[in-house]
C-alpha cells in the first residue's frame, strides 16, 4: 500500500527580551543556577505578574511577518499542573485567545518548488525552570533561571507531507524569527525547539490517521530523523495489523528512535482558566501599524527581490536569503562589486567552503563583505584573473593584507595584458619545447585543441599566473598555427 505522511509542528521560540515575560529578572543564558530568579519567578506567596511589553511587540511582529490575523484582544490563561520546576503550580499561557491568529509561511523544497504551510495560531507563554538529575546523589536539583523566560509557541496546521517539508518549515520559521531579531534562534541552547505531530494514512484517504507527538526535538537534523523513524514505525505497526495509539514520544538521537513517554489516557487535565492577575491584552490599529512600519525586509521578500531584481536563480536566492546575516553579507558584496551573479558564486563557493571548513558562521568571517566585493571587482575589471583571485582570497582569509588591492600589489598578481610581453613569453616557451611543438604539428587538427593546454600552462607558469588566460590562448593558437 502507498502511505502518506501528515505532519504538524509546534515550534517554541524563546524571545530575545532582556527581562522575563512577567518579571524584571534577566533572561541571559548560562548564569549560576537560581541567580536569575526573582520573587516573581520563584512563585513566592503574594507576588503578581506584570506583562513584558517587549514580548508582546515581538509576538505581534511575528504575526505580521506570517500574514496572520492579530486579534484586538488576547488573554492569558493558567495551565495547571504540578512539577518541581514549575514554581507556581501553573504555567501562564494563552489557551483560548492567543495573541497571533491564523497565518501562513512559504517553504522552498530541494526541487526549487515552493509550498504554503498554514499557521493555526501562535501564543505567548512562560518557560518553566530546569530539573537537574545529575550530581545530586539521587535527588533532583531545581534551577529556576529559565522560569519565566518568554516563549512564542507557533502551531502549524497539519500541512506537511514529508520530513523534508517539516525541516524546511522549521528553517523558514527560524529564518523569520532571526530576521525579525525576536530570537537568537540558537537551537543548541534551546532557544528554538519543537514538538512534532506525526501520523500516516493510505494515500488518497481523506481522514487523518492517529497521531503521535514527539516532544522537544531541538535540531533540524533531529526533526528529519525523528520523523523518518516514526513514519516507518507507524507503517510497520499498521501493516502488521496493529494500531497507532495517540501518545507522547521522545526522540533519542543516540539510538535514532522514538520511545513512548505517556499515552493519552494518562494525560493531564490542565484545568485552563483565564489568569485573574493579568488584564486582557488590547491592541489597537495604530500600534499594529507602527509595528508593521518597523518590520525589516523578510526572507520571502528578499528571495523574490534576489530573483526578480538581481536575476539570481531560485536556488541561489533561497540559499542566500536563508539567514539575515548571509543575506546582508551577500548584498554588501553585490553592492561593492556590482555583479549579483559573481557575488552569489563567491559567497556560496569560496567563502562558504572556507567557513564550513573552519566551522565559522558568516558573522565571524575573516574576509569582510567589502573585501570580497573589492576582490570580485578586480576580477571583473581584469586587474587579476580567476586563479590569482583565489590566491588573493586566501591571503585575505589569512590576514595577509587589508584589501584585495594591497594583496595584489604585495604579491605582484596584477594581470599581464600587454600583448608584447605575452608574445615574448610565448616565443620563449615555444623555443624551449621543440618536442611538444613537433608533436602538435604532427597531430590530427581536432586533437591540437587539447594539446594547446600544455603550452598555456607553461606560459601561465612563466608569468607566475598573471598573464591573461584568454589572451594567452588566442596568441598561442596564432603562433603555433603559424608553424604548421
Amino acid at each position: 500500500m502507498q502511505w502518506e505522511t501528515v505532519i504538524g509542528l509546534e515550534v517554541h521560540v524563546q524571545l530575545a527580551t532582556r527581562s522575563k515575560i512577567f518579571s524584571g529578572a534577566s533572561t541571559a543564558f548560562g548564569a549560576e543556577p537560581n541567580t536569575q530568579a526573582c520573587a516573581v519567578d520563584l512563585g513566592l506567596p503574594g507576588v503578581l505578574p506584570v506583562l513584558n511589553e517587549q514580548a508582546v511587540a515581538m509576538a505581534v511582529q511575528f504575526g505580521l511577518a506570517v500574514h496572520a490575523d492579530i486579534p484586538e484582544v488576547s488573554v492569558f490563561d493558567r495551565k495547571n499542573y504540578f512539577y518541581p520546576d514549575l514554581p507556581k503550580g501553573y504555567q501562564t499561557s494563552q489557551m483560548y485567545h492567543p495573541i497571533v491568529g491564523a497565518g501562513d509561511v512559504e517553504i522552498t523544497l530541494d526541487d526549487e518548488s515552493t509550498k504554503r504551510i498554514r499557521i493555526h495560531h501562535a501564543h505567548l507563554e512562560e518557560d518553566a525552570g530546569k530539573s537537574l538529575h545529575e550530581d545530586f546523589h539521587g535527588m533532583t536539583g531545581i534551577d529556576l533561571n529559565r522560569a519565566g523566560t518568554p516563549l512564542l509557541e507557533i502551531v502549524s496546521e497539519p500541512d506537511m507531507r514529508s520530513a523534508k517539508e517539516a525541516a524546511a518549515y522549521l528553517k523558514a520559521i527560524h529564518s523569520i524569527v532571526t530576521y525579525l531579531g525576536i530570537s537568537d534562534g540558537n537551537m543548541a541552547e534551546g532557544s528554538m525547539r519543537c514538538d512534532v505531530n506525526v501520523s500516516v494514512r493510505p494515500k488518497g484517504q481523506e481522514a487523518f490517521g492517529t497521531r503521535a507527538e514527539i516532544k522537544n526535538v531541538n535540531s533540524f537534523r533531529f526533526v528529519e530523523r525523528a520523523i523518518a523513524y516514526e513514519v516507518e514505525r507507524q507503517i510497520e505497526l499498521i501493516e502488521d495489523g496493529g494500531k497507532v495509539v495517540q501518545e507522547t514520544r521522545l526522540f533519542d538521537p543516540e539510538r535514532d528512535e522514538t520511545r513512548s513517554m505517556r499515552t493519552k489516557e494518562e494525560a493531564n487535565d490542565y484545568r485552563y482558566f483565564p489568569c485573574p492577575d493579568l488584564l486582557p491584552v488590547v491592541l489597537d490599529q495604530a500600534y499594529l501599524d507602527h509595528l508593521r512600519s518597523q518590520l525589516p525586509e523578510l526572507p520571502a521578500d528578499k528571495r523574490a527581490r534576489f530573483q526578480n531584481e538581481l536575476g539570481l536563480s531560485v536556488y541561489d536566492a533561497h540559499v542566500l536569503s536563508a539567514s539575515r546575516e548571509m543575506a546582508e553579507f551577500f548584498e554588501e558584496v553585490q553592492q561593492v562589486c556590482g555583479d549579483a551573479k559573481q557575488a552569489a558564486n563567491w559567497v556560496q563557493g569560496e567563502l562558504s567552503g572556507a567557513l564550513n571548513r573552519e566551522n565559522l558562521s558568516i558573522q565571524n568571517s575573516p574576509v569582510s563583505a567589502k573585501q570580497l566585493g573589492e576582490l570580485i571587482s578586480r576580477v571583473l575589471d581584469d586587474t587579476i584573473n580567476g586563479k590569482a583571485a583565489k590566491q588573493v582570497f586566501q591571503a585575505l582569509w589569512n590576514g595577509q593584507g587589508d584589501s584585495a588591492d594591497a594583496v595584489i600589489d604585495a604579491k605582484g598578481l596584477k594581470q599581464v595584458t600587454d600583448t608584447g610581453a605575452i608574445e615574448a613569453m610565448i616565443d620563449q616557451v615555444i623555443a624551449e619545447s621543440p618536442a611538444q611543438v613537433a608533436q602538435y604539428r604532427d597531430s590530427e587538427p581536432e586533437k591540437r585543441g587539447k594539446m594547446i593546454g600544455y603550452f598555456v600552462g607553461q606560459v601561465m607558469k612563466a608569468s607566475r599566473g598573471t598573464a591573461n588566460p584568454q589572451q594567452v590562448n588566442g596568441l598561442l593558437k596564432e603562433k603555433l598555427d603559424a608553424l604548421l
Binding site: A39, L42, G43, L44, P45, G46, V47, L48, P49, V50, L51, R78, N80, F82, P84, P87, K88, G89, Y90, I142, D269, R271, Y272, F273, P276, D277, L278, L279
Partner: protein, 486 residues
C-alpha cells in the same frame, strides 16, 4: 489612650502631648496583657515596633512627620512583611519568613506608621468566623463566647479591644465588613483595583482587596489615603488619581438618595439586625436623605457564583504550596508524589482542602462551562444589578450580616457558614466598595450597617458613614473587656 481614634492620637502626637514610643509601648503592653485571652495576634513584633517608634519620634523632632507618623497599627497575617513570619493563618506557612514587603506595607512604612504585628485570620482568608485558623480561634471582645467574624477576625477583635488603634484587613467575600460588624468597628472594602494586591497572599485574585479597619470612618479615610493608588507591580490596580478622603467627610447629606435592596431584608434576617438597620436609615432621613426600595434581582445567585469562582482561583493560587521551595514539607518523602500529597495534606486545614477540591472540580474538563463559565455570566448580571441601582440612587444600605456574631463552634456545616456572607459577597463579585459601620446591638453583640457605593465611590461612602457617626454614638461604644483587661 487606647480609647482614642487614629485621628485623635495623631493630634496628640503632633501637639507633643504623646510620643510614638509611649503610644507604642502602651499598646504593646495591652497586647501582652489581653491577647492571651483574645488570640487576635499570630506574631507581635515588639522590638521592631519600638525601633520604628523611635525613628518616628526622631522624624517628628526633625520636622519630617507626616499625618500618621508614629501611629501604631496591625496587619492581617496575609500581608507579606520582610523578615517577619507571614503565615496566612496556615500551618503551611508557619515557617515562612517573607523576604519582601507588600506594597501596602511599604506605603504604611513610608507614612511612618508603626506595625505592632500580624493578626490572626481564617486560614488563607477562607472563613467567616476565624475558627479556621491554624493558630486557634479568636474571641470576640464583646462576648468571649462569640466569634469575631472572619476572615479578618484578629484585626477586628484587636481594634475593638483597644489592643491597636487600627488594622489592615482583606476582603474577598466580606472578610473586612463582616468581622467589623461583629466587633462593632468600622471596616472599608475599597473598589477592586483601588489598593495594590502585590504582596498580599492570594486567595481569589479577582475578588481580593485590602482595606482599613478602625474605630471610625474618619480613621478609615486617613488610612485609605496612605494605601490607595496605582501600583506598577499589580496589573489589576487602577491608574486613577487618589483624592484626599478626609476632605469630603463633612459634606452635607441633604438630597442623598438611599436605596434599600429588598433582597437584603428577606428571610433569614435576624429581627434585631433588621431593626437596627432600619433605625439607622431613619437617622439618615433626619439628615436630609431620601429613601426608596430598589431591587438587586440576582442577589440569590451571588453565593453559588462566588463558591465557583473563588475556589477555582484558590485551587490554582494555592498550587505553589507544594513543599518544594518554601512552606511546610513532610518528613522523609518517599518520592515526588509523596512529597506533594503529604506536604499538602499536612499543611492545609479542612476548609482550605474543601475549597481546593471544589475549585479543582469546577475547572475540570467537562465541568468548566457548566460551572466556571456560567458563574462568570452570573457575575456580570450581579454587577449589572448594582450599576442599574446606582442609576437611581447614590448609595445602597442594608445589614452587613444576617445575624450578630454567633457562638464559637455554633456553625458546624460549611454551607450555613457560607450563608453568613449573603449580603457581602455580591459586592466583591461586582467589584464595588462597601463599608460596615456600627449601628446598634443585639443581646450585647454589635450590629453593622453596610453602605455600598458605585466603583471608586470611597469618598462618598466615607462621607456618608462619617455623617452617621457624627449623629450617633454606636461607634464610640467599647466592650467591657477593653477596660477589664488593661
Amino acid at each position: 489612650m487606647h480609647d482614642k481614634t487614629v485621628t485623635q492620637l495623631a493630634a496628640a502626637l503632633k501637639s507633643g502631648e504623646l510620643s510614638s514610643r509611649e503610644l507604642t509601648s502602651h499598646f504593646l503592653q495591652r497586647i501582652e496583657q489581653a491577647d492571651g485571652t483574645l488570640n487576635s495576634f499570630i506574631t507581635v513584633t515588639a522590638e521592631q515596633a519600638l525601633d520604628q517608634a523611635e525613628a518616628a519620634d526622631n522624624a517628628r523632632a526633625a520636622g519630617k512627620a507626616g499625618k500618621l507618623t508614629g501611629i501604631p497599627f496591625a496587619l492581617k497575617d496575609i500581608f507579606c512583611t520582610q523578615g517577619v513570619k507571614t503565615s496566612c493563618g496556615s500551618k503551611m506557612l508557619d515557617n515562612f519568613i517573607a523576604p519582601y514587603n507588600a506594597t501596602v506595607v511599604e506605603k504604611l512604612n513610608a507614612a511612618g506608621t508603626i506595625s505592632l504585628g500580624k493578626t490572626n485570620m481564617d486560614e488563607f482568608a477562607m472563613g467567616s468566623s476565624n475558627e479556621n485558623s491554624y493558630f486557634g480561634a479568636v474571641k470576640n471582645p464583646w462576648d468571649l463566647t462569640a466569634v469575631p467574624g472572619g476572615s479578618s477576625g484578629g484585626s477586628a477583635a484587636a481594634v475593638a479591644a483597644g489592643l491597636v488603634p487600627a488594622a489592615m484587613g482583606t476582603d474577598t467575600g466580606g472578610s473586612i465588613r463582616q468581622p467589623a460588624a461583629f466587633c462593632g468597628i468600622t471596616g472599608l472594602k475599597p473598589t477592586y483595583g483601588r489598593v495594590s494586591r502585590y504582596g498580599i497572599i492570594a486567595y481569589a485574585s479577582s475578588l481580593d482587596q485590602a482595606g482599613p479597619m478602625a474605630k471610625s470612618a474618619e480613621d478609615c479615610a486617613h488610612l485609605l489615603n496612605v494605601i490607595a493608588g496605582h501600583d506598577v507591580r499589580d496589573s489589576t490596580s487602577v491608574a486613577r488619581g487618589v483624592p484626599d478622603y478626609t476632605e469630603t467627610l463633612n459634606a452635607p447629606l441633604s438630597g442623598l438618595k438611599i436605596g434599600l435592596p429588598k433582597e437584603y431584608f428577606g428571610d433569614g434576617l435576624d429581627a434585631d439586625v433588621e431593626k437596627a438597620v432600619r433605625e439607622a436609615v431613619k437617622v439618615y432621613e433626619s439628615l436630609g436623605a431620601t429613601v426608596r426600595e430598589v431591587s438587586l434581582p440576582h442577589t440569590h445567585y451571588a453565593i453559588p457564583a462566588y463558591y465557583v469562582i473563588a475556589p477555582a482561583e484558590a485551587s490554582s493560587n494555592l498550587s505553589r504550596y507544594d513543599g518544594v521551595r518554601f512552606g511546610h514539607r513532610c518528613d522523609a518523602p518517599a518520592d515526588l508524589i509523596d512529597l506533594y500529597t503529604r506536604s499538602r495534606a499536612e499543611g492545609f486545614g479542612d476548609e482550605v482542602k474543601r475549597r481546593i477540591l471544589i475549585g479543582t472540580h469546577t475547572l475540570s474538563e467537562g465541568f468548566f462551562d457548566a460551572y466556571y463559565t456560567k458563574a462568570q455570566k452570573v457575575r456580570r448580571l450581579i454587577r449589572q444589578d448594582f450599576l442599574d441601582a446606582f442609576e437611581d440612587v447614590d448609595v445602597l444600605m442594608g445589614p452587613a450580616s444576617p445575624t450578630p456574631a454567633f457562638d464559637l463552634g455554633a456553625k458546624k456545616d460549611p454551607v450555613s457558614m457560607y450563608l453568613q456572607d449573603i449580603y457581602t459577597i455580591a459586592v466583591n463579585l461586582a467589584g464595588i466598595p462597601g463599608i460596615s459601620v456600627p449601628a446598634g446591638f443585639s443581646n450585647g453583640r454589635p450590629v453593622g450597617l453596610q453602605i455600598l457605593g458605585t466603583h471608586f465611590a470611597e469618598a462618598q461612602l466615607l462621607n456618608v458613614a462619617h455623617q452617621f457617626q457624627q449623629a450617633t454614638d454606636w461607634h464610640l461604644q467599647r466592650p467591657a473587656f477593653a477596660e477589664e483587661n488593661a
